[in-house]
Every structure is written in structure tokens, then in C-alpha cells.
């Protein structure tokens, strides 16, 4: 019998730069090795993909309704039916899914997802009219989507040129034309416009953010559906695979136009034309991540904040109420009302997540909390994808051999991790599996 031949171990190259001494050095080294802020474990992969699926279904409603409000409801002074998008908008072909799409990267249909339509019909309570479902609050919570939009509107100036454009003469002239057309034949509203023009301008700006967020999420819904399908087919080997899928997606649609068109009596008014050159990456995705994942605002929920006692930062840049910092347990206290989103996602959990939650903590009793923490994990992974995409776009490849380049990457990663040094950040918690 031939003895097994021992193979010499591969020589390990000395690292080109010294290790980081940052408090999150482990996470930084993982990012430098092409990983995510979320550790690569089979359970983390299962959790994040499962929640992407549960998020994608309500998101398919959010983007359609956001565009419906921006383009059709517009300045309706009593928008009681703004959460009832027309059939046209439920059938609106997704620009990035379906056979009509110019960019066929993600599979999936062009119209509203079947699970969404089924839920809209039956809800939790059973089949009844849309109005009864609405009044019973057995519906998709658009209030969550609006809170995200308001965070973007309120924080402003987070990169991109969208907000500056809203103060430009071109924008004001386009908005003025649309306001006058919308209220043609309505002397009361036109009179109010003459008296308080800025109030109307503010409303139009808000509508432009509805369009911005709608166009942003129109892309994310098919991306998340696709990730769920790939996982079901056994396609992702680990968390880094899932993150890299998102990185590629960010690049693929980076140049998607962000615009705001309004349809008044069948006529299209281009308040922000596509020719303004605004892009999905710079004017929607990056401001969204900053406003929604990091900042948002203290939510008026079950916990009160005392601004006089400096419980709320005086500087907007220090706001830290996004999902990356949220304490999910005291439901309703953490920035963007996570309770509403959790409720929306609860309806579309894949069976494997239902099973997982039953095995831990209080089982079905605290499913909203458990899925909220899963959502937090998944958004740390999305944020990792954004960080890696920015590194890729603005800095250097991870396998670069120039130490100066690697140090530039290092400084970038460390600066990103500095944002999680504040005590509210959940980055340390998501490093272990027992945070549920």
C-alpha cells in the first residue's frame, strides 16, 4: 500500500498591510476578504433571503402606490383614496422584470405579484371590499413607505443633486405649470396658490420624493424576488454570494433615470424630466440608505424622547434611528415605524422562517420581534453591499497588490465602521446567532 503523500502547505503570503486596530477590526478584515458585515452562516443566509422574499411582496405594492400618488393623486387636497392605486398601476409593467424589460437580469413577472393580489383580496380577515379591508386596517401599510419618503425629504442633502434641483428655476417653473393645470377651474385652490405659493411648492417637492422612492423600490422588488428564487433553487453558497448579487444589481441599474412625471387629465407634465440626468444610484439609492437605514427620525410610538434633555441630537447628521440602530423590542420606538413593516412582512414569510421562529424565544407569540431582528440582519447585509459597491466604484479591488490602494480601502472601511461605534448600533449583536 502506498502511503499517502503529504503535500507541502501552500506558502502564505505576508499581508501587504498591517491588521486594523479598529474596534470592529474583525468585521473590517471580513469586508476586506470580500465578506459582509453579517457573518457567513447558513442560518444568516436563510434568515436574510427569507425576509427579502417577505419584504419584496409589500414592496411590490409600495412602489406602485408611490408612483400612483406622485403621478395621479398629486395635489388632491383630500387624498382619502391615495392607498387605492388604480388597476393601471397594479398592472404597470415593472421596468426591470417581465419580458418587456430592456434589462432582463431578474426573472419574475411584470405585473403585481400573485401573493400580493391574493392578500389584497382576502387579507387576514377574508374576502370583502377594498374599503372595508382599508378601514379594518387589514392591508399593506403604506404609512411605512410614506415614512421612508418623508425621511428622505426631511434629511435632504445626502449626496446626489436631487434636492438642489427642487430649488431650481426650472423645477419651480415646471411645478407651477402642473399646479395651475391641476387646479384649472378651481378658483379656491388657485386663490390659495396665489396667496401661499411656497406651501404648494413644498407639496410638489414631497410628490417628487414619492416618485423618487417609487422608482427606487421598483428595482428592489424584482431583485429580492430573484434572490429568493435563487436560494430556493440552491443557488447561493453563503452570505457573501447574496451580498455580491446585490452589488452587481446596484451597478446594473445605477444609471436608471430618476424623474417625476404627473398626469393631469391625460396630459403628461414633466416636473423632473429624465433629461435632468438624475440616476438611481446617486439621486435615489445612496440618499435612501443614508436617510432610511441610518438616520430617519424618532418615531412617535410607545417611547417618548425629550429633546430638551438632548435625547434627540441637535444635529441632523447625528440622527441614528434607522434599522441599523433600532431596538426592535419596544415596538414602535425605533425610527421608521418598524411595526408597520413587520406587520406587512408577517403575511408573506416563507415556511422555513415560520418554522425557525417557532423554535426560538416565544415561538409564534413574538414572531414580529424575531422577524424584525431578521430584517435588521438583512439590512446590515444590504448596507454591506452598498459599502462594497462604493468601494468598487470609488476605490480599489480587494485583491489589489499596491499597499497604498489597500490602505485607501482600509480607511474607507474604517470610516464606515465608525458610524457603528455609537452604543445604539446593532452591529455587535448581529455577530452572534443568539440575538433574536
Amino acid at each position: 500500500m502506498t502511503p499517502p503523500t503529504a503535500t507541502a502547505p501552500e506558502p502564505v503570503a505576508a499581508p501587504l498591510i498591517p491588521p486594523s486596530s479598529h474596534r470592529y477590526a474583525d468585521v473590517i478584515h471580513r469586508l476586506e476578504a470580500g465578506g459582509s458585515m453579517l457573518p457567513d452562516t447558513p442560518e444568516n443566509l436563510m434568515q436574510i433571503i427569507g425576509i427579502y422574499k417577505a419584504y419584496a411582496v409589500p414592496m411590490d405594492f409600495y412602489w406602485r402606490d408611490l408612483l400612483y400618488i406622485a403621478e395621479q393623486v398629486f395635489l388632491d387636497p383630500l387624498p382619502a383614496f391615495k392607498y387605492f392605486p388604480s388597476q393601471e398601476y397594479l398592472d404597470l409593467p415593472n421596468s426591470y422584470a417581465g419580458d418587456q424589460s430592456k434589462l432582463r437580469i431578474w426573472r419574475g413577472g411584470e405585473k403585481a405579484h400573485p401573493e400580493l393580489l391574493e392578500f389584497m383580496e382576502k387579507g387576514e380577515t377574508g374576502k370583502m371590499s377594498k374599503l372595508l379591508h382599508h378601514l379594518w386596517h387589514d392591508r399593506i401599510n403604506m404609512e411605512f413607505a410614506e415614512a421612508c419618503m418623508e425621511a428622505m425629504l426631511w434629511h435632504q442633502g445626502m449626496g446626489g443633486r436631487f434636492y438642489d434641483y427642487l430649488d431650481s428655476d426650472a423645477y419651480r417653473a415646471n411645478a407651477d405649470r402642473a399646479i395651475k393645470a391641476y387646479f384649472r377651474g378651481n378658483p379656491l385652490m388657485l386663490g390659495l396658490y396665489a396667496l401661499f405659493p411656497e406651501m404648494f411648492m413644498e407639496q410638489v417637492k414631497k410628490m417628487s420624493y414619492y416618485a423618487n422612492l417609487g422608482l427606487f423600490w421598483e428595482v428592489m422588488a424584482p431583485v429580492f424576488f430573484e434572490m429568493s428564487d435563487i436560494y430556493d433553487e440552491g443557488g447561493f453558497k453563503g452570505v457573501p454570494d447574496a451580498m455580491n448579487f446585490l452589488v452587481n444589481g446596484i451597478f446594473a441599474v445605477a444609471g436608471r433615470p430618476i424623474y417625476h412625471h404627473v398626469y393631469i387629465k391625460g396630459e403628461c407634465f414633466e416636473i423632473i424630466p429624465k433629461s435632468a440626468g438624475f440616476t438611481w444610484l446617486y439621486e435615489a439609492a445612496l440618499p435612501y440608505v443614508e436617510a432610511v437605514f441610518y438616520r430617519t427620525a424618532p418615531f412617535r410610538g410607545t417611547k417618548s424622547y425629550n429633546a430638551q434633555a438632548y435625547q434627540v441630537p441637535s444635529d441632523q447628521a447625528d440622527f441614528h434611528y434607522g434599522i441599523l440602530y433600532a431596538d426592535v423590542f419596544p415596538v414602535g420606538s425605533a425610527g421608521i415605524p418598524p411595526t408597520l413593516l413587520m406587520q406587512d412582512m408577517l403575511h408573506f414569510l416563507p415556511p422555513y422562517l415560520e418554522e425557525l421562529y417557532k423554535q426560538h424565544k416565544r415561538g409564534d407569540e413574538d414572531k414580529l420581534i424575531q422577524l424584525g431582528i431578521t430584517f435588521q440582519r438583512s439590512m446590515y447585509n444590504v448596507t454591506s453591499a452598498v459599502i462594497q459597491a462604493l468601494r468598487c466604484a470609488l476605490l480599489y479591488p480587494l485583491d489589489d497588490t499596491d499597499p497604498e490602494h489597500l490602505m485607501a480601502n482600509r480607511r474607507f472601511f474604517e470610516a464606515q465602521m465608525d458610524r457603528f461605534l455609537r452604543p445604539e448600533a446593532r452591529l455587535p449583536q448581529i455577530q452572534t446567532q443568539d440575538y433574536r
Binding site: L103, N248, A252, A254, G255, K274, T279, Y282, L390
Partner: protein, 133 residues
């Protein structure tokens, strides 16, 4: 001497860039007297972008033009002039950083061939598509 477009055509490694410039309607501008400084990514630089990136831009002309204009400065500048200043305003509006003199690096791209003098400007060949931010 040839202008910027003719020079790029002659080089044979700027097929994607020339197509993009044509689609964005910028060919005429780059044939005008200028002068301009162009950071010209080679074909391999575009090929290294994830799938779909270039297609989405080509499908959306104003957005494509914006990214291309980030690669152009108003005025003709050689390497020794560019390294005198940490950043230069691009035609897109965002600044282009000069990160290193030797090797010559513009943002996160390395200049593989500098100071190609044309009738209406100067071309610096870069190994990566540069993006604002």
C-alpha cells in the same frame, strides 16, 4: 494632427467609449475646437463593469452623458499640469481627484498612457471607468 475622436478611433482600444460617446450625442462636441482633457477608459475598463451597467446607461442617454462628461475637463492639460492640483472640475460638475503623480492616478484609475496630444485637446488613457463621488 488628428482630433480627439480620430485619435481614439485610430488607437483601436476605445470601441465601447466611442460607441457610448456617439449614443450620448457627444461626438460633435469632442470634434469641436475645445480644447478638452479626456480621461479615456479602454475597452477592458468597460468590460470589467458588472453585467447590465453599460446597457442601462446606453438605454438612458442623459444619464450616460453625465457619466461620460465626468471623464472630460475643459481645457488641455498635460500630466505635469494636472498633478499640480489635487482635483479638477469635470464637465459633469463633480471634481476629478488626482490621487498620485507616480504612478499617475486619476481617482481610482491608473493612467496607462498620458499626454496624447490631439488637435483639440489632450487624452490620458485610463484602465478603469471613473465615477463621481
Amino acid at each position: 494632427m488628428a482630433n480627439i475622436i480620430e485619435t481614439a478611433k485610430g488607437a483601436g482600444c476605445f470601441g465601447t467609449l466611442l460607441t457610448a460617446v456617439e449614443v450620448a450625442g457627444l461626438t460633435g462636441a469632442l470634434e469641436s475646437p475645445g480644447p478638452f482633457t479626456v480621461f479615456a477608459p479602454v475597452d477592458d475598463a468597460f468590460a470589467a463593469l458588472p453585467p447590465g451597467t453599460v446597457q442601462t446607461l446606453v438605454d438612458n442617454v442623459p444619464q450616460l452623458a453625465r457619466i461620460l462628461k465626468f471623464h472630460v475637463l475643459s481645457g488641455a492639460y498635460r500630466r505635469e499640469q494636472l498633478i499640480e492640483q489635487p482635483e479638477w472640475e469635470s464637465l459633469e460638475g463633480a471634481p476629478v481627484a488626482i490621487r498620485r503623480a507616480d504612478p499617475f492616478e486619476v481617482k481610482n484609475a491608473t493612467v496607462v498612457s498620458a499626454d496624447i496630444v490631439c488637435d483639440n485637446g489632450i487624452v490620458h488613457v485610463i484602465d478603469r471607468v471613473i465615477l463621481p463621488g
